[in-house]
Amino acid sequence: MIRITRKVEFSAAHFYHNPDLSAEENRRVFGKCNNPHGHGHNYVLEVTIAGEPDPTTGMLLDLKELKDILQREVVDRMDHRHLNYEVPELAGQIPTCENIAAVIWKLLAPTIRRGTLDRVRLHESPDLFADCAADSTNRAGSGA
């Protein structure tokens, strides 16, 4: 099996707030991330596809097609947006790195026509990333 990874970047604003918690609890749990004015990050997304290369083309999938998918599904939705208010898929969720990675996984999984989505890695900063990855215990084969 071969894995290929494509990287894309987007910039977005967010803040952390749980309406079920008091203002004091929100400040305690989320610290400066609770600032209601929001703050932002340059997110770096790495998407990995796994599968067998097509014997005719030698390619697992057309990277141009993957680039277009990432632009349409992720960048057009999230770039220069406020994640708390402008991305319906995140409605009702706190836009943490973990939750955003899971939403991106759900958006991308049905769009991959060759190979299978293996891992979504979302870097919030150079010091922090979340992985959403096919669990090896229930992986559905190469799917090529």
Binding site: N18, D20, V29, A102, A109, L117, P126, F129, D131, C132
Partner: protein
């Protein structure tokens, strides 16, 4: 293919969180179980009696359920001070061989530093420690996922 795609869509993926930390420390690779000549042959310039140092980069990976109330596997407000207390304060700007008790009897190779940091951070109460990855230099990195891990990437014998 349609069926496979449908199956792939239904995979529930596993989520993990990885945080990067740094410390700078000196060490010397020298085993009392080896002769001077063997030490020299095994460790080369890393056995220089006066020691040498690295800027270590430590990647800490945690897994576990994403808390519905916080959207988090682990709150960095809790993880950062825990790592600071358990690892950074003990290792940063230290001579590992003499100032970290565990390395008085164990050679502080980065394999062993990986295992020691894993042991210390395994006590983090809020999430499961999945992996410690240490970059000793920009060319060398080491990973440890516990002795239970299949194909333990260090491939070393437990202490």
């Amino acid at each position: 293919m349609k069926l496979l795609r449908k199956v792939a869509m239904n995979i529930s993926p596993k989520i993990s969180l990885t945080r990067r930390y740094r410390f700078a420390a000196s060490h010397r690779l020298h085993s009392p179980q080896l002769s001077e000549e063997e030490n020299q042959r095994t460790y080369g310039k890393c056995s220089n009696p006066l020691g040498h140092g690295h800027n270590y980069v430590v990647w800490v990976t945690l897994t576990g359920p994403v808390d519905g109330a916080t959207g988090m596997i682990a709150n960095l407000g809790e993880l950062d001070p825990f790592v600071e207390r358990e690892v950074i304060e003990a290792f940063d700007y230290r001579f590992l061989n003499e100032e970290v008790a565990e390395f008085r009897a164990t050679v502080p190779t980065t394999e062993n530093v990986c295992r020691e940091i894993y042991r210390r951070l395994q006590k983090f109460p809020r999430a499961r420690l999945e992996r410690i990855r240490i970059e000793e230099t920009s060319k060398n990195s080491f990973e440890y996922s516990g002795e239970h891990a299949k194909g333990n990437s260090l491939g070393v014998t437990p202490l």
